[in-house]
């Protein structure tokens, strides 16, 4: 039995693979066998590790020759395995996180029954006959003529469903489902459910009203109520970090008004609930965009200020500084950006709109000419007063964007795309610290700067860096990791990474590099022209060694084109493509025949040597 079962497995797998290669219908059988092979290969890694430990422990316990090396091997193996498997020092994977959300465990079946949504339609069959996307598989079912979705659909799920099939009918059904499978109005954008990981999520801080609304969805279900309670507690957890100094004129940004507290006496920031990436950005961006420095008194004053902290700038530094400042932004660019956004916008039509157009055309017997986009809005131009406001902003960039937007709206018409363009433009302007850092490094590349000048140019960016770090620390402290063990074992800076970079990599590279030394020694001592075969081998080695370098080409470059075939680089190609290929093919064909014969013996059970000896 001990020998029969492995022999049967080997024989059957081998024949399945053979048959699947020649008969297309059985291709899937071969695939299955190959998958089992891959699984066993993964298991072999574990067996290999176990075997390595067994052999070396035996050697150590017997104090056999070289047992010290075995001890080093075992220690290195165990240390690497522990650090790698334990993901010691690795942060949770970023893409697995739900920043700004509190999480609570909840099975799909415990979601309130009222949060199951249906739309009319049929789940189509994919062109490749694959099942519906994995991320909706648990929640999406066909119920008669309706498609039913349990829970609230997420944008990623909508995208996956839309990509499943590109028929207009299906896309319209997905749109209808995306509209239907939403939480109650008051909880929209806050509550969510991740079916793949059985997690109920809540974005931001949960209010008492939110808690009551959520509990009311299924007050009879204790599991649901407990999950909501857990979310409530977690979303009101307080996290605190220290700060060294607040940015000048610091005000708590709008998105953090209800959750951030600043204790100036203790120099601490306290955050209630998790922090979203948007809130983090709002907290970080406390430094005003730098105003333009056009040629004139303000730029001269700036250059003089640099000069006050050290020696005057040289010609090359001055030219660089002027070039960089000339390339900065100005009020006219801002006006153009906002004006251009006032053009009518092309937006994509929904699948429902396209489907209606198609149906209408078919009813009238026409061929539908479906244009995928439609134009919305009218041309909106900035008036003189609005342009003046933008020019004034370029002089005083401390003015908050919200206030500027309000003033522009009061001075004339301002469309939503224009507001977006304005916000985008301002968010892309460097801060004074960033601009001065760029200038500092550009000036250093063109001449010296005193330490005073460097400090003058870098002080702002240092302050900004410290504040960004504080905001980042609060973001991390307030975050509730989802899958804390999900990080990459080889993350840069982790202990495993250090082992790889500074132990494994140099050791293996050194081992390989040592070959050059041994080959050189062997070439001197053993590569002798003792007989005809050795002379042929020696000649070939000369040609190949020289032909693979520039030296070979140079040595025979004087040969005329009529005998170009004798040039060393061409001789190398001939040897490799003719003699080497012919010889290798002959050997390969021989090996292939041998493998076929041996395989047949193994598959038919004639050769059982791979099963070990009978005594085992």
């Amino acid at each position: 039995m001990k020998r029969t079962v492995p022999m049967l497995i080997t024989g059957i797998s081998g024949f399945v693979l053979l048959i699947s290669f020649f008969i297309p219908y059985t291709e899937g059988w071969g695939e299955k066998a190959a998958i089992w092979f891959d699984i066993l290969a993964a298991v072999a890694f574990i067996l290999g590790g176990g075997n390595l430990l067994k052999i070396h422990f035996k050697k150590i316990s017997k104090r056999a020759a070289g047992w010290g090396f075995s001890a080093v091997t075992v220690i290195a193996f165990v240390a690497t395995l522990t650090i790698g498997l334990g993901k010691v020092g690795s942060n949770p994977a970023q893409q697995q996180q739900m920043y700004g959300s509190a999480l609570a465990q909840l099975e799909l079946s415990d979601l309130p029954e009222s949060q199951t949504f249906s739309v009319e339609g049929q789940i189509p069959t994919h062109a490749n006959k694959t099942a519906v996307p994995f991320i909706v598989r648990d929640q999406l079912t066909q119920d008669g003529q309706n498609i039913t979705f349990r829970g609230w659909i997420q944008p990623l799920q909508v995208a996956a469903l839309s990509g499943f099939q590109d028929e207009l009918e299906w896309l319209a059904t997905v749109e209808a489902l995306a509209r239907a499978a939403q939480p109650p109005e008051t909880l929209r954008g806050k509550i969510g459910y991740d079916a793949g990981n059985s997690r109920l999520t809540f974005q931001g801080r949960m209010s008492q009203d939110d808690q009551a609304d959520l509990k009311a969805l299924d007050s009879s279900n204790a599991t649901w109520t407990a999950a909501v309670e857990s979310l409530f507690q977690q979303s009101r957890r307080t996290s605190t970090v220290d700060f060294s100094s607040l940015p000048a004129g610091f005000k708590i940004p709008g998105p953090l008004k209800d959750s951030l507290v600043v204790d100036k006496s203790k120099k601490q920031l306290s955050m209630t609930g998790p922090m979203s990436p948007g809130q983090r950005a709002a907290l970080s961006n406390q430094f005003r965009p730098t105003p333009p420095l056009p040629k004139g008194p303000r730029r001269e004053a700036f250059i003089t200020a640099i000069g006050k902290h050290g020696p005057p700038l040289n010609k090359s530094q001055l030219a660089t500084l002027n070039n960089l400042l000339d390339g900065g932004w100005n009020a006219q660019q801002l006006i153009i950006a906002v004006s251009t956004a006032g053009e009518p916008q092309e937006v994509r039509k929904s699948a429902r709109e396209l489907l209606d157009e198609k149906t209408a055309a078919e009813q009238t017997g026409q061929v539908a000419d479906l244009k995928p986009t439609r134009t919305i809005g009218e041309t909106t131009r900035l008036n003189e007063a609005q342009e003046d406001l933008l020019r004034a902003f370029a002089e005083n960039t401390a003015q908050p964007v919200a206030e500027l937007t309000k003033q522009l709206g009061e001075a004339g018409t301002l469309s939503d795309p224009q507001v977006s363009a304005l916000t985008r433009f301002i968010s892309q302007i460097s801060t004074t610290g960033e601009r001065n850092r760029t200038l500092c490094f550009a000036l250093l590349a063109n001449g010296p700067l005193s330490s005073g000048q460097r400090d003058f140019l870098l002080d702002d960016v240092r302050t900004e860096f410290l504040w960004h770090r504080t905001a980042g620390a609060l973001f991390v402290a307030a975050h509730q990791p989802r899958f804390p063990w999900s990080g990459e074992y080889r993350e840069q800076g982790s202990p495993f990474w250090w082992l790889y970079e500074y132990t494994f990599k140099p050791l293996t590279a050194s081992m390989f590099a040592m070959l050059a030394f041994y080959v050189a020694s062997a070439a001197f001592r053993a590569f002798r022209a003792k007989n005809l075969e050795a002379i042929l081998l020696l000649g070939t080695a000369f040609i190949i060694l020289l032909g693979r370098t520039f030296a070979g080409a140079t040595l025979t470059s004087w040969l005329p084109d009529s005998i170009a075939g004798l040039k060393i680089e061409n001789l190398t190609v001939t040897i490799m493509t003719v003699f080497n290929t012919a010889g290798n093919r002959a050997i390969m064909i021989g090996i292939a025949l041998g493998i076929a014969a041996t395989s047949l013996k193994v598959l038919l059970g004639v050769d059982r040597s791979y099963l070990g000896s009978q005594e085992d």
Partner: protein, 291 residues
């Protein structure tokens, strides 16, 4: 002299070899390269692809052979990025993912920051099973790869959502230092699906002679060792830097830089063989005279 050479301590040879490699590195000795037809074949296979075409880059090597294969891996990635191809990275060697990370950090994140992970390139990572993995993914990739190297579901990655198998790749470029490597890709991917899978490869110097028999049908082009890398990177640099009138970044000329020490080391090897044979023949003639 004869006595000195015939009893020469091997450490002198080690010292000579050390000097032959070190001095050209310190002096930054470089020599011009001319691309052979094999390098042209590899270059043309990528060059003829259209923007957005999918390519599979399989990196099956480790730090031991990085010195020989790193430059060609860099050149492959750079060429694919310049052509705006969709790049799928894969590895059959346990440390392959680190080699992929190195290339992504060196080329994509530095010089092509606009490329988006999941839309323009994706790292599928390592799977154990050697040629068994190839055999499965040529017909059904998602049987083995349900997530990428970071653990993200392939259905959530835009460029993987509709990916069924690697027959849909317009090209497979394999950089390999041994087993599993080019030979397995030839046997289990390019040979059973000659009309669907086009394969080019880069390999170590000792591996190249074994792969010539597969050309040009099963293997469309082959870069052999650092010489092949230097030739290929010359073609890429000429096309995307020199034609644009700009100086190439030095990391894209790493193969050419490494050819300097190789040339001197090869010449030393030739000299050692010659001297070794002179010692051998002089010794034999003296033995004959004595007897």
């Amino acid at each position: 002299m004869y006595h000195f050479l015939s009893t020469l301590d091997r450490r002198w040879i080690f010292l000579l070899m050390g000097a032959a490699v070190t001095i050209p590195i310190l002096l930054e000795l470089q020599f011009p390269e001319e691309a052979t037809s094999l390098a042209h074949a590899v270059f043309n296979e990528i060059e003829q692809l259209e923007e957005g075409d999918p390519v599979l880059l399989a990196f099956d090597y480790d730090p031991a052979s990085e010195g020989e294969l790193g430059p060609m891996a860099t050149a492959f990635v750079r060429h694919c990025c310049e052509k705006k191809l969709k790049i799928y990275f894969i590895a059959l060697w346990p440390v392959g993912p680190q080699m992929i990370d190195d290339s992504i950090n060196r080329v994509i994140k530095t010089d092509f920051p606009d490329m988006v992970y999941g839309e323009d390139y994706v790292n599928l990572g390592f799977k154990p099973g050697n040629e068994g993995v190839i055999k499965v993914i040529v017909t059904d990739l998602k049987q083995l790869y349900s997530t990428d190297d970071r653990g993200t579901d392939l259905d959530q990655i835009p460029m993987c959502r509709d990916l069924v198998n690697i027959q849909s790749m317009d090209l497979v470029a394999e950089v390999s230092a041994g087993y599993p490597g080019v030979k397995e890709w030839v046997q289990y991917a390019a040979t059973p699906y000659p009309d669907q899978i086009r394969l080019v490869a880069g390999c170590t110097g000792v591996g190249a002679p074994l792969l010539y028999p597969y050309m040009p049908e099963q293997l469309k082009g082959l870069l052999g060792a650092i010489k092949g890398a230097a030739e290929y990177e010359k073609l890429v640099v000429d096309r995307y830097d020199r034609e644009a009138g700009r100086e190439p970044d030095l990391k894209y000329l790493e193969g050419k830089r490494r050819m300097g020490p190789q040339l001197v080391a090869h010449i030393l090897m030739v000299v050692l063989i010659v001297v070794g044979n002179i010692v051998f023949f002089v010794g034999r003639s003296r033995e004959g005279t004595n007897s």
